[in-house]
């Protein structure tokens, strides 16, 4: 569910599972050690379906009060967003539970055409005091891995095919990010590691080696997400992705505009039309600020 590259880092041997998993008799397979969390593959269903357990261990380098506050806030922010998105087209009037759940509703006419239900993992259980969340398992590879896995063929035809496939993938990314924004959600950490490429036939087990760039783009890792419909927040979200893409895939960097085009023009994006144009204009401001901000001090 996340790429193997990041799991190569060693897991802190002292890490213990939070309850009730400390007395579980199920198996746990460490899939990734991200910066914030450990991701395990386990099960949560009586039918044996796989599930993803995300544990946010205590960060000993930060002040305990701050650590507790951030862990709680992020687990909840992530779960609220995922539940909200899983309720698209289900919930009446877009209500989500929780006293403090501030649900910003997009304006009329900004609403995603198809919504993101099914394009984010469903929440199965969580414990914000103990710092864990169980979600549905997403089959497939990360987009980062998928792009790295594609080989540029020797023949011109093959190279052209790969280019077209990549562009097509980038357009699907633009569309899914558009849908997310149209739903009033800012991801906060858009990278190609936080996107899964789920085979269209999702019942097949994880493909081990495939060159294909086919599949649904499924967004994961909403730990830094916020609910907002501001153009500025949306533009910053795109800027984060643009920079992450450039540094992760320097050879494919030139293709990134495909993401933006799809975001602002594709029918399925939900950000197509005037709103999307405004966000892209704002993105130019954000870029300028990033690259040309005052160095005085």
């Amino acid at each position: 569910m996340a790429d193997a590259a990041s799991s190569s880092a060693r897991v802190n041997a002292l890490h213990k599972f939070p309850p009730p998993f400390d007395t579980s008799d199920e198996s746990f397979e460490l899939i990734a050690q991200g910066a914030e969390s450990l991701l395990y593959r386990t099960t949560f269903s009586t039918t044996g379906q796989p599930a993803a357990l995300k544990v946010r261990p205590e960060k000993k380098w930060r002040h305990p009060i701050l650590d507790k506050r951030l862990t709680r806030a992020r687990i909840l922010a992530e779960a609220r967003v995922l539940v909200k998105l899983s309720g698209e087209g289900i919930a009446a009037g877009g209500s989500t539970p929780g006293k403090r759940a501030k649900v910003k509703q997009p304006k009329e006419g900004e609403k995603g055409v198809a919504g993101l239900r099914g394009f984010v993992p469903a929440v199965l259980a969580l414990d914000w005091e103990r710092g864990w969340m169980m979600t549905e398992w997403v089959y497939g590879r990360t987009v980062k891995q998928a792009i790295h896995d594609t080989q540029a063929g020797r023949r011109a035809v093959e190279r052209e095919q790969r280019l077209q496939d990549l562009k097509e993938l980038l357009r699907r990314i633009g569309e899914v990010v558009g849908k997310l924004h149209a739903s009033g959600v800012i991801h906060g950490d858009l990278t190609t590691s936080n996107m899964m490429l789920r085979p269209y036939d999702a019942t097949t087990p994880d493909p081990t080696s495939t060159d294909s760039l086919d599949g649904d783009v499924v967004l994961i890792d909403f730990g830094l997400s916020t609910q907002s419909v501001s153009d500025e927040d949306r533009a910053v979200d795109l800027y984060v992705l643009e920079r992450a893409f450039g540094s992760t895939h320097p050879r494919e960097e030139d293709l990134f505009p495909e993401v933006l085009t799809a975001y602002a023009e594709n029918e399925g994006s939900g950000m197509n039309g005037k709103v999307g144009k405004l966000v892209l204009r704002k993105l130019e401001d954000v870029r300028m600020r990033g690259r040309k901000k005052s160095m005085v001090g």
Binding site: R62, G188, M295, G297
Partner: protein
Amino acid sequence: MPIAIGLEGSANKLGVGIILHPPHQPSSPPSPHDSAYSDDELHSSHPTSKQKSSSPPVQILANLRHTFNSPPGTGFLPKDTAAHHRRWVVRLVKQAMAQARVRIEDIDCICFTRGPGMGAPLSSVAIAARTLSQLWNKPLVGVNHCVGHIEMGRAITGAENPVVLYVSGGNTQVIAYSAQRYRIFGEALDIAVGNCLDRFARVLKIPNDPAPGYNIEQLAKNAGGVLLELPYAVKGMDVSFSGILARVEEMALKLESAAQSKPATPWLDPLTSAPITPADLCFTLQETVFAMLVEITERAMAHVGASQVLIVGGVGCNERLQAMMGIMAAERGGSVFKTDERFCIDNGIMIAHAGLLAWRKGFVTPLGGSGVTQRFRTDEVLVDWRD
């Protein structure tokens, strides 16, 4: 044996350094520790920890610095800072040459900071560099200030391929090397972390000597363990400090008015009921902004699969930041590399070092193209001296 002189003046420190790159590993240990200082050394009470890393493959022949400090409650203005640099640059160059015991003909190139930084101070030092270049008939090498910090940090600590956190008054960047560029993975989207600390210090009238950040660090050590709630703004690998600054400035004003009110009505911590002190604000600010910096660094390390981290820049002297980073790196099975204030605070030797690396690859800056630039991105520099 290539020797370079480096001139740095992008902010309120004027630095002149002379470096030698031995052809092979030096047989005698390098001497970064016996270079003399000007006022900074006399007045500084910074703890000077000895570096335990392997011998750096460079010899530091001189590393002098003179700092322009403005009165408490004020920042340094470009005009005054430039005047300071003009007043001191000749003296510092002469002193450095004498200390290094090198003759003009031993020098291979004149390195200077092209940017980024404040325009007027940059220009005043660039004029000095051009003059030396003409007088001594030596090539000019324009250096990116950030690349100078990174290369010096690597040379001093022996860190091979670390993720770099560059934190100073003007810059906040998380950098990793890839394909002959220092790529910026994350950065501050508004003001730099050092700028945030400096401006907070002004509100509390914390002295600028030797550095506002240093004085905040000392004050924070006396805090009572109260952690107030500040905004926490991490966006991916980027951070933002202006919201935090605004909030902590409000807190400082609240503290001030609580102290001046009659009868005195101290501001109490809602959790512990302890009266809030300026030290608590310093502590809260440090804990919050450093947590953000460590977080984005960890994120970049996870992203590129690195286990080493190098901290450079003036804020990198902060021992609390270093300690936090150390715990994080250890949790990831890695380690943190840091330098002391001779190298993490702006200095001339880092400019000489990075300039000499470029010069050895054939890089020179023609006189006609030696203008300074206030904005000079780290990733614009072709790092052809690395694989």
